[in-house]
Symmetry: C2
Subunit: 227 residues, 2 copies
DNA sequence: TAGATTGTTAATCGATTAACAATC
DNA sequence: TAGATTGTTAATCGATTAACAATC
């Protein structure tokens, strides 16, 4: 039985920090979408938005939007809606967009080069510091602003340059477990199908285009069959 | 009020087809992982597997695995486990891997070319029929086995070649809404941030590398702050 | 048979939606 | 004030886990 008294300290006195700690996974997965949408509104000089407007743009219910924003802070005003600018600051802060992270790409293959060439990193405040290749190909050359290095320089580079993120585009002839808890590395953005066990300090974030394609095919098949 | 009698026809007489129709979203999102894992087992000549073994490889509970497999069919045997081969057939069938889908890529930019060059499509039984570019660059040339066409040939091509899937890598100067419910097109694999409204016959499957990167950064930030 | 492992039920947990009072 | 829109509660829905009888 919970014997705590129902005083005001119960929930309302949670600090902003404490509140952030309790963001549920489902909300967290919606935050990037909110961010993109809010950025778009700012670009169009729209400075206020209601839960209903956002819900239409994002294809979720307005109730959900209010529930979400109430959870991450105190941004709304009854009868008015939300200030786009304030929301962006709040959402950016939780997403860590204000932080400056640095990254390296492992594998100068088509996928690695595509990720490097895209404005992806710069758009999200991540600094791409180097690309590492297995064979001698491209080594010493530049892709955009970023230099290509041989693989044996990877670990020293990560340590010296305090790299936060390693983007793994292939595991052909490479064992990525050496990355775990090495230097200042905190995350592996894993585009391969290889399972990588996370460490105490280094987490693994998987992206599988194959999975995505399979899901698409599955949806199409079911649509054809009439759901 | 439901006045049906609780006869055996209630649930147990659902046909295989009917059962497939009720696959919940959460299970559907796990199916590609099961597929990859099962393929890996076959490659290593492992012909039987228990829910417990799979649960360890996939980082989910064994209870979940059993729940999932019981839902999609009747593949288990008490005291033995599951036949890997039978499971693959069942999972492939739901995922539509046995079906032959065809695709085109819109945008011969770095991302488009990376997707085209990868064995992604062939590995999943999807036939890449063409790449379409906005300006004259690359038009007439080949990327792997696939020819690059000018954009104005896109819609006639989709109709004539009965293309199922359009991979959208950019919306710079292109309005993708013309794709919806056009010809035999059933799905758009959307790598852009542009919101595309789905049609009655054409669905939209979004992949956002930006979202994924933001989520990674967010996780790292929270890890640094001690969850 | 004894041991292993599923299938299934019930309990729990978390996410979403509906509704409306509070209030700007 | 009247109208709009949030914040919050309660209801609903769906997903996950635990437990164990059924059975290979």
């Amino acid at each position: 039985m919970d014997t705590r008294l129902p005083t005001s300290s119960d929930d309302s006195m949670l600090s902003a920090e404490d509140k952030e700690k309790t963001i549920p996974a489902a909300l967290l997965s919606r935050l990037p979408q909110y961010y993109i949408c809010l950025k778009d509104l700012v670009n169009r000089d729209i400075m206020r938005v209601s839960s209903r407007e956002l819900s239409k743009a994002l294809d979720i219910t307005d109730s959900q939007v209010r529930q979400d924003f109430a959870r991450i802070g105190d941004y709304g005003r009854q009868g008015y809606g939300y200030s786009v600018r304030e929301l962006i600051i709040g959402v950016s802060d939780i997403l860590g967009i204000t932080d400056e992270f640095s990254a390296v790409i492992i594998g100068a293959n088509v996928l690695g080069l595509a990720i490097a060439s895209d404005s992806l990193f710069s758009r999200h405040g991540v600094l791409l510091k180097g690309i590492f290749n297995f064979d001698g190909t491209l080594v010493g050359q530049r892709v955009g602003n970023t230099k290509v290095y041989p693989l044996d320089e990877l670990i020293p580079f990560i340590v010296k340059e305090k790299v936060d993120i390693a983007v793994l585009t292939t595991t052909e002839g490479y064992d990525p477990s050496e990355l775990i808890d090495n230097g200042s590395l905190r995350g592996i953005w894993n585009f391969t199908n290889r399972f990588i066990e996370r460490g105490e300090k280094t987490l693994v974030h998987n992206v599988s285009l194959g999975d995505s394609l399979m899901t698409l095919c599955c949806k199409i098949k079911r649509l054809k069959e009439g759901r």
